[in-house]
Amino acid sequence: MSAPHAHVERAAAQATLRASAYTPRIASAELLVGSTLAIAMVLLAVAGRTLELERATRIELAARFVRPGTSGYPLGADHLGRDLWCRAVEGLGWSLSCALVATLIAGLVGTILGVMAAEHGGRLRAVIAQCSNLVLALPGLVVAIAVIGILGQGYWTLVLTLGLLTWPVFARIVMAETASLLTRDYILAARLAGADSTRILLTHLLPGLRATLMVVFAFHFADMLIAESALSFLGIGAPVGTPTWGSMLADSRQYLFTAPWMLLVPGGAIVLAVVTVNLIGDGLAARSRRLARALEH
């Protein structure tokens, strides 16, 4: 690359940048909207947990099928007269906690195995790569249903099953990223300066992986939200009686004629949560793409 062409290159790169994604212009807006919504949701979930909304499970037959907007019932009531707003908030706490822990399990296992594979190479790398391909080839929901069906419902059964069935999503990307980071000069320099592999891992590799991990984490979190609500909808995820979005959807099926809001409240909640997390993921991805390109030029 000779010097006179440098400005042409840069102009071309900028043009590419402008046209690169369909959303770059709103990338920061995406992050802003996404994180604002996410913070609001977390606060709401925490408030719901601390207030212990007993109306979420209290059966009040006088209030059966109360319409949304009725005083005291902003989102209406279900077939047992339970307040849908309180149920939705309780479900929010359950969903966020399940998705968070399942994603953490997948992320931890996947990152550890991915870094190990890339650092050691050779046979270990081959075994880990094969294992992750095999797990990826499984029809996840089918295996999850089989496993939970056998073990019985419960919070830990659910999050462990989801996490341990999806770690290859992280392992694959971490493996590729780590392998490319390990060839960088600054890692070599650190090695030459006498840093041991723990120090290299903590001070050089993990910070280098951070941007990628955040993007994968966000999208995986969204997938876990959907998976959890799907399993709870089938009556296989949450223990019976827990107010969750999936179980609310399952309840709504018999009252499609009388109370469509029983479907729209949990359905809307799932969509809002997943879109929020996708906004954050997309915003982070666009930002790290731009960062990577800005560093190149």
């Binding site: 095999l134 029809p139 996840g140 929901l141 089918v142 069906g149 469509p260």
Partner: protein
């Protein structure tokens, strides 16, 4: 129709290709065997971890005598490793045991309902392609135009809508409010529309985004710019140059996402009471019908693996830059 990718044809001798092909199949068969072994081992030990399998196998309403009879019949009084060996032996003879609710062989129960699931999956995949490829190509061809930017945002939003929620909403709209379409059953094509559209929702937004991203990227590649400079019409640029390359990525995605789609059929079949494998699985977990649960997991696992392998073969055919030995 020439593309940039086809132009650089790989020079492999027939002999090397044959060798590569044999290695490919041997590796795939070993992988499949490992996959199935892993899955059966997992289910075997989970069943024993969950408690006394005799109770599970006997069903919920069994008496103490029935439980004891089951324990002897299945050899559950023997050491664990012997049980495991006997279990693998019977699986090798394709004996998956009998359904605890109907008494018919579990494998037969799965194979009877498999065609319904395949019909649903194939129709949904076709619908996905019909919608996602043109839409993605349209958005990706000029992603900065106003209409297409809004379309891209719409697709992004739809990606956040789980397919089973779409299914429930479609039932609400078309079966309940408008009463146009039936919501359950699978007898006539009118019954197929809602399940197929719902299932397609698992993939349409994702595939649209992938096609759009690849088309818009290809439009900036040198071979497209050269074609544009030498006077090719926009239509020709899209169909002759950008789209074929984008479809390669789409094919790869379809292969890897078939597992996802088949997983999706579980929940869609449950919503629409579609008598397929997923419906059978959910029914089986409600009664803890272990032989059926296991047969479903193994059959669907095998099926997904075969489709992934087929997708790899198609990609090798379509993209001469990849040779079979690379897979």
């Amino acid at each position: 129709m020439t593309t940039g990718a086809v132009a650089g044809s790989a020079m492999t001798t027939p002999r090397r290709q044959r060798h590569g092909a044999r290695r490919f199949w041997v590796r795939r068969l070993i992988e499949l065997a490992v996959l199935l072994l892993g899955l059966t081992t997992l289910l075997f030990f989970l069943l024993r971890l969950a408690g006394d399998p005799a109770y599970v196998l006997a069903g919920q309403e069994a008496t103490a005598e029935q439980v004891d009879a089951i324990r002897v019949e299945y050899g559950l009084d023997r050491p664990l490793l012997l049980q495991y060996g006997a279990y693998l032996g019977s699986l090798l003879r394709l004996d998956f045991g009998r359904s605890l609710t109907t008494g018919e062989p579990a494998l037969a129960a799965v194979l009877t309902v498999l065609p319904a699931t395949l019909l649903l999956a194939v129709l949904a995949m076709a619908f996905t392609l019909i919608v996602a490829v043109p839409l993605g190509a349209w958005i990706g061809f000029a992603p900065d135009r106003r209409m297409r930017r809004w379309a891209a945002r719409g697709v992004f939003f739809l990606q956040g809508v789980p397919a089973f929620v779409v299914g429930l909403l479609l039932v609400q709209l078309f079966s309940v409010q408008l009463a146009w379409l039936p919501s359950v059953g699978h007898g006539s094509p009118a019954n197929w529309i809602l399940p197929v559209v719902s299932l397609a929702f698992f993939l349409v937004p994702k595939l649209t985004r992938v096609v759009a991203a690849n088309v818009s990227e290809a439009m900036r590649e040198d071979y497209v710019r050269v074609a544009r400079a030498s006077g090719a019409a926009p239509r020709e640029l899209l169909y002759g140059y950008a789209l074929p390359n984008a479809l390669l990525a789409a094919t790869a995605l379809i292969g890897t996402q078939f597992a996802f789609l088949l997983s999706g059929t579980v929940i869609i079949e449950y919503i629409f009471a579609w008598p397929g494998v997923g419906w059978l699985l959910v029914e089986a977990t409600q009664t803890l019908d272990f032989p059926v649960i296991q047969a479903v997991a193994l059959i669907v696992g095998t099926l997904v693996y075969l489709v992934n392998t087929a997708a790899d073969l198609v990609i090798v055919r379509l993209d001469p830059r990849i040779s079979g030995a690379d897979l």
